[in-house]
């Protein structure tokens, strides 16, 4: 029977099905971080349960860490106690930890792939919704709550119902200056924040195939923003070339075996999907969001919709009031004071290179504070080796140390109330970047151009 990529991997991980439609579903890799794990460890201990498969777990400190002076003790006592708790738990249970100061520390969804921990055909979970990022390798990867973190700790399994399948195909070639981030913001703006709820998405089509691994991760990362359980892309040469030689990837003979197996992971021609959406890459422009959910996005030179459905009028009105925008308005010319380049959506080396390439020899506008937070220690190291740090510094951008930072503003990296921030992260929810902060989501390229111009510009005129 013809099977989708998703079904091939799902079926291979069912330990058993129980009456009523739930599967005992096996998890290959479990990533943890300081914010959603402490209560799970506490639960495990309170029930007197052993940790079932510690060697299938990896931990990092990312959500709550400072991005300056990481060599010093964390100032905020609550943040410090969370990070200390993680270190203590990992020590006690024997879990590999990439804590602060470790050469592999970084945002959990950046380090998994770059270390080769994330591989095709695997099932991978983390107590963080953007775990969907890892699907870029042809894995079933999704975010879980803390109770489920405990379940995986105790049994390496979850009890799940099989989601429905959706395929999103983007054909053709992206225009100059249109990036993976624009592609996914475009798709989300079409489908809405709940448009893929209940589904697991496979991205396909020549525009998706043409993306680098970094670009594919950006796309899969934001699947959750339209409600999808996860997103995935069939592995191919791009995937194998990226993984080859990475520290946790299979080596030598094993590598050959692995590639042979991974090459069977694609959706068969007649595979069924409960929902299909097809888009043309040529229709996608550089995007920006104007509201307080990621589906409120538009072409950067477009106008905010003047009218919305009656059922959404209240929410949209509330959102635009929060943002200080009006229906029918264009954002071109809006002064911007903050630019944040980072997060698990766009903090990989390719993102930093793209920013550096654009700002080389230019200066950020004086009223703009522009911070760049690399996704990991390895990204930071590579940026320094390539001299990107100097280019960025000369242009007035501040290169910080790795962490989630202003993506969720749990640490001190917050945007002040009322201020506008063009951000490469994935969420523009009210208060996401700090109480009252106003976030406009965009690609790293749009963020770089905005920082230099000091306002939103029609970037299409800068491209080519």
């Amino acid at each position: 029977m013809a099977k989708s990529l998703f079904d091939k991997i799902w079926d291979a991980h069912v330990v058993k099905s129980i009456p009523g439609g739930l599967d005992v579903f096996y998890i290959d890799k479990h990533l943890i971080h300081e914010v959603t794990s402490p209560q799970a460890f506490a639960e495990l201990e309170s029930r007197n349960l052993p940790l079932f498969r510690k060697e299938q777990m990896v931990a990092t400190a990312d959500h709550n860490v400072p991005t300056k002076n990481q060599h010093l003790p964390i100032q905020d006592p609550l943040s410090r106690s969370q990070v200390d708790k993680l270190t203590e738990n990992c020590g006690k249970f024997g879990i590999e930890l990439f804590g602060l100061g470790h050469k592999h520390q970084g945002i959990v969804h950046v380090i998994g792939p770059e270390l080769g921990i994330t591989q095709p055909g695997m099932t991978l979970v983390c107590g963080d919704s953007h775990t969907s990022t890892h699907g870029a390798f042809g894995a079933i990867a999704f975010g879980i709550g803390t109770s489920q973190v405990t379940q995986v700790m105790a049994s390496q399994c979850l009890l799940l119902s099989r989601p429905k399948r959706m395929r999103i195909t983007v054909n053709g070639k992206l225009k100059a200056g249109v990036t993976a981030k624009d592609l996914i913001l475009y798709v989300i703006s079409r489908l809405g924040t709940g448009g893929a709820t209940g589904y697991f998405v496979e991205y396909a089509g020549s525009a998706v195939r043409g993306l680098s691994m970094e670009g594919r991760m950006t796309v899969c990362n934001m699947s959750i923003e339209m409600g999808a359980r996860g997103g995935m892309i069939a592995p191919d040469e791009t995937t194998f070339n990226y993984l080859k030689g990475r520290p946790y990837a299979p080596q030598g003979e094993k590598w050959e075996q692995a590639v042979a197996c991974w090459s069977t992971l694609f959706s068969d021609e007649d595979a069924e999907f409960e929902a299909e959406h097809v888009y043309d890459a040529a229709d996608i422009a550089p995007m920006i969001t104007y509201g307080t959910n990621p589906a409120m996005g538009m072409a950067i030179n477009g106008t905010i919709p003047a009218e919305v459905a009656a059922s959404e009028a209240f929410s949209t009105g509330k959102s635009l009031t929060y943002m200080g925008f009006a229906p029918g308005e264009s954002l071109v010319g809006k002064e911007i004071n903050y630019v944040f380049i980072g997060s698990c959506t766009n903090s990989r080396i390719e993102d930093l290179r793209q920013v550096a390439e654009y700002v080389k020899g230019k200066q950020k506008a004086t009223h703009v504070e522009a911070i760049i937070v690399p996704g990991s220690k390895l990204v930071e190291k590579q940026a320094i080796e390539e001299g990107l740090d100097r280019i960025l510094a000369e242009a007035g951008f501040e290169l910080r140390e790795p962490g989630c930072s202003a993506c969720l503003a749990m640490n001190e990296d917050k945007i002040p109330a009322g201020a506008y921030c063009v951000s490469t992260s994935n969420r523009n929810f009210e208060g996401r970047q700090g109480p009252g902060a106003r976030t406009l989501l965009a690609s790293p390229l749009v963020a770089a151009i905005t920082a230099v111009e000091g306002k939103i510009v029609d970037v299409t005129q800068f491209l080519n």
């Binding site: 291979a12 330990v15 058993k16 009523g20 005992v24 096996y26 290959d28 914010v35 959603t36 402490p38 209560q39 506490a42 639960e43 349960l49 959500h63 905020d76 609550l78 969370q82 708790k85 095709p120 963080d128 919704s129 775990t131 975010g143 879980i144 709550g145 803390t146 109770s147 489920q148 405990t150 379940q151 049994s155 390496q156 399994c157 979850l158 009890l159 119902s161 989601p163 924040t193 709940g194 709820t197 409600g227 359980r229 990837a249 299979p250 692995a258 197996c261 959910n293 209240f314 929410s315 509330k318 969720l408 749990m410 969420r427 929810f429 009210e430 208060g431 996401r432 109480p435 009252g436």
Partner: protein, 198 residues
Amino acid sequence: MEKFEVLHSGAVPLPVENIDTDQIIPARFLKATSRDGFGENLFRDWRYDSKGSPKVDFVLNDERYKGQILVAGKNFGCGSSREHAAWAIYDAGFRVVISSYFADIFRGNALNNGILPLQVSEEVLQQLLDLVSQQPETTFTVDLQQQQLLVPAADIAVPFAIDAYKKECLLNGYDDIDFLVNQKEAIENYEKNRVWAY
């Protein structure tokens, strides 16, 4: 987990769509290492101003609305996987959230914490929101065993769906951990033939 059987309670209306987990509990309040006390910061930035004074026009600060049922707009709980959102709702005294649509992860987190995510059609949701807004003292009955939502005062009786296994769990106060730990033998057998494990 506490057992859930029949609930008679007033309801609190929150007619906003796409309420995300950052609104339910902002990230800056996620620094605790225990599960307790999150209720205080439920809807923090809607409930209090920047100086910490209650905002009078927010429904949770409105004396007229009381009860263990939250009635909220479509696509409730989208955004992050933080279970703190479910803990905050539970800690603030809610046992049921009614909406026309729930985000997947939130739905799972709610069920794992003894909160019933009760999904109704958009028409029914609108009817319920109008009703409680106008008559705050209206009492709802949620009968999990019968899978019925009843509002006698308005002659409303709607059935709701719930996974049979999850229903058993809620009724008995069990959770998935108990179940999974008992599957150890099957899991170890599965592990002998794991695929693609490099």
